[in-house]
Amino acid sequence: MSYPILSTVIFLPIVGALLIFLMSRSNEALIKWTALLLSVLTFFLSVPLFLDFDKTTANMQFTESYQWIPSWGIKYALGVDGISVLFVLLSTLLTILCVTVSWNSIKDRTKEFYAALLLTEGAMIGVFCSLDLFLFYIFWEAMLIPMFLLIGVWGGPNRVYAAIKFFLFTLVGSVLMLVGIIVLYLNTGRSFDILQMMNTTYPFNLQLILFWAFFAAFAVKVPMFPVHTWLPDAHTEAPTAGSVILAGILIKMGAYGFLRFSMPILPEATRAMSPVMMILSVIAIIYGAVICLGQTDLKRLIAYSSVSHMGFVTLGIFALNTQGIQGGILQMINHGIVTGGLFLCVGIIYDRTHTRKIADYGGTATVLPIYAALFMVFTLASIGLPGTNGFIGEFLILLGGFTASKPMGVLASTGIIIGAAYMLWLYQRVFFMEVNPKVQGHPDVNFREILTVVPLVLLVLYVGFYPNTLLSFMDASVQNLINRVSTAGQPQQVAQQIIEVIK
């Protein structure tokens, strides 16, 4: 690589944000175009990750490593493997769409908005690339600030509550993880090097404690039942771009954390705890799905559906077998694409009708047919119809889950029934039946909006028919991960007892 690609991709947006912050707020056009330009540039700079990625190895690639705080053994170390590379690309892509979708809908404090957006992007990519736990934590936390502003400043009527709730929820989780990180650090011979940690074996009881410490942070982010209640509020109140980022990337970090830290670093604890995790996941799946049936708010419904879908993800991950984990990762990407797309669509219609109440809609398909068609694609993907990406992910996850534990697999499968129920019901209420006066007379999607959504539509179908393009990326890494988890020393008595308890 001719240039330190990861650093570039991380810091280009951040620098851009500062740049924007220095511009005069009167010159909105300039600000918007700079933001767009930067996000597109970042995307293209990140493309080499995709092209030059060596799929045959599970090692970290595009690595960079410099001494940072030698006294604490902290390095500035970046790198991607098959698990993380896809998220980097997803982030860079979604950010572009966030910029375009906010083009006309953000009128107040445009400068700060785009600055915050780009900052978030940089931090998120940083999270996915960090190979140093300290660096990871910095990005992990730093991202809260712009996100907090995105929700709280440009959000809906109840935005402040949502923003603060989001912030505190995640913060409480993270600080507990911080303690875990330090304990880990002291037990790794004063090093934050993730790769080194992956090769260290820790006493089982320590692993258990650390597992829960990390769980606190990751479960909140995912979000897993029962710490999911920040999500509906945040999703509902956030501006479109915010929701997209949240749904698309931010909540993936939790699951990513499980994959990157909990599993390879604490394999035995992971193994011991996987039953608990699977149960929680299944609860999330069914709970999230059923509760969707009771929603009256468009975004809120999609938010709860995210809870359900992320339940699938965690289920797959903690199935601890190839299909499960690959499905889980794939489903994360899918969920990013699909729910991202759904939120984009909701944003598009919201810009016209300025209402999120489902009851205010109806007959939209008659008024905005193209829009309806686009929305339909995402709906189908979200209910996991074969031919869309959703199917591949969910099926692999269910397969993995079923392999790991039949009851879990069966219960989880009920999720797809309810899933179909609430999504189709939603679609019917919004798009079918007589035209609601509130919808009447709005123009169909314009070119900009189509451009915003179509990439995701294409991805939905492409991944639906050629999932191998993505699966092949993660293959080696996932195999490596599974070996690590399954070959680490047998769980001790404690674990056995716990498993007994669970069963």
Binding site: F21, R25, I69, P70, S71, W72, R109, K111, E112, Y137, I138, E141, A142, L144, I145, F148, L149, G152, V153, R159, V160, A163, I164, F167, L168, L171, V172, V175, L176, L178, V179, I182, V183, Y185, L186
Partner: protein
Amino acid sequence: MNIPFPDLTPATPEIIMTIAATVLLILDLLFKEKGVLAFLTISVAAVTLYTLPMSAGETFGGMFISDTYSTYFKLIFLINIILTVLISLKYIKRQQADYGEYYSLMLFSTVGMMLMASARDFIILYLGLELMALSTYVLAGIKRHDIKSNEAAIKYFLLGAFSSALLLYGISLLYGATTTTDFTKIAAQLQQTGSTPLLTLAMILIAVAFSFKIAAVPFHMWAPDVYEGAPTSVTAFMSVGPKAAGFAVIGRVFFSAFQNMQADWTSVLIGIAILTMAVGNILAIAQTNIKRMLAYSSIAHAGYMLLGIIAGTEEGRQAMMTYMMIYAFMNMGAFAIVILLDKGEEISDYEGLSKSRPLVAALMLVFMFSLTGIPPTAGFIGKFNIFMALIRAGYVWLAIVAVIFSAISAYYYLRVVRNMYMKEMTAEAAINPTPTLSLALAISVAMVFVIGIVPSVIPFIKLV
């Protein structure tokens, strides 16, 4: 009988400052424009800063020592006075408290702090403490026509005197049990006698007096009132200087004199620390006046710093020092903003600030998040450092308690941010920027980020 003249080099910084202070008193009569004095103060502080490194060594029969530890704290004191002077320049004129004594008192009080940091004998310690305290009392009440300022002064004074009386009683008992007031000798003495209830009592009395200085619960109650009543610049000064001095002596006395009573004082301090964090954070949530809010927040921060002492290791002590330095910058920054705004005493005054004054709002945002301890700001490094030392010393549970409280603290810092960014503007906020104030802000924000991203700039982090 011949009297050997003591070596003065270790005390150069103090001497320079003292001379400067006295000289200022005289110059005060010559200059109508007190700004000159301010610049003199800053330059003197700068010079002293320059002399700090070359002042190593001990003198006066070992009752005065200038080592890395004391030097580091002197650094903080000097930064403190410099920043304070920078932010107070126009402000005290606005407050009609523009006396030349203002600056010399500040210098004197800084000298007192320096003495405390360098003291290795309870007598010096006591005198330095009084020197600092007395001048701070006066500074707190320097808006003599303002009832709030008077009230602050009287409260601070009475309780301060009370606490120093306790300190003295402790010292006297200690003296009675060891025939000396020198830390090292005391330590040696305790080595033989071991700790008796009487000594424990003495230790507690001393600990209480220090806790008062650093505003630790339940000896904190003066802080909010005094912080609110005193002129904001003085509040800024007090919220860093005396606190740092208090920690300096705690770190010194408990690590040298009371070395082998560690079990006792650790248990005492743990209780105090937890209470401090709890009360500080919880009460801060209930505040509407930002100076009071910052007062409680500074109480809470004292709690975190105590954790460093509790760790009882060199690492912990240095973590505390690092935190102190970071705290100095971010706290100063916050107060600078309060001063910058014409009408910035109430938290509600910050509503919609991001609309009218985006830059000011952004700066305040940085300081608030830094106080919360969110990376990549310095506040995070400080907390991280403390927790690391604490956990290293085996107090994981205490660390968990601490992080929970720091999460709670986010709530009230966020309130300010919320008002600035998420509330509608009530009135166009008027600000009165001065070059010096801007300079102070620039320094603080720069340091907040630099330390946050390259913590190695703080000398002690390499030792840890």
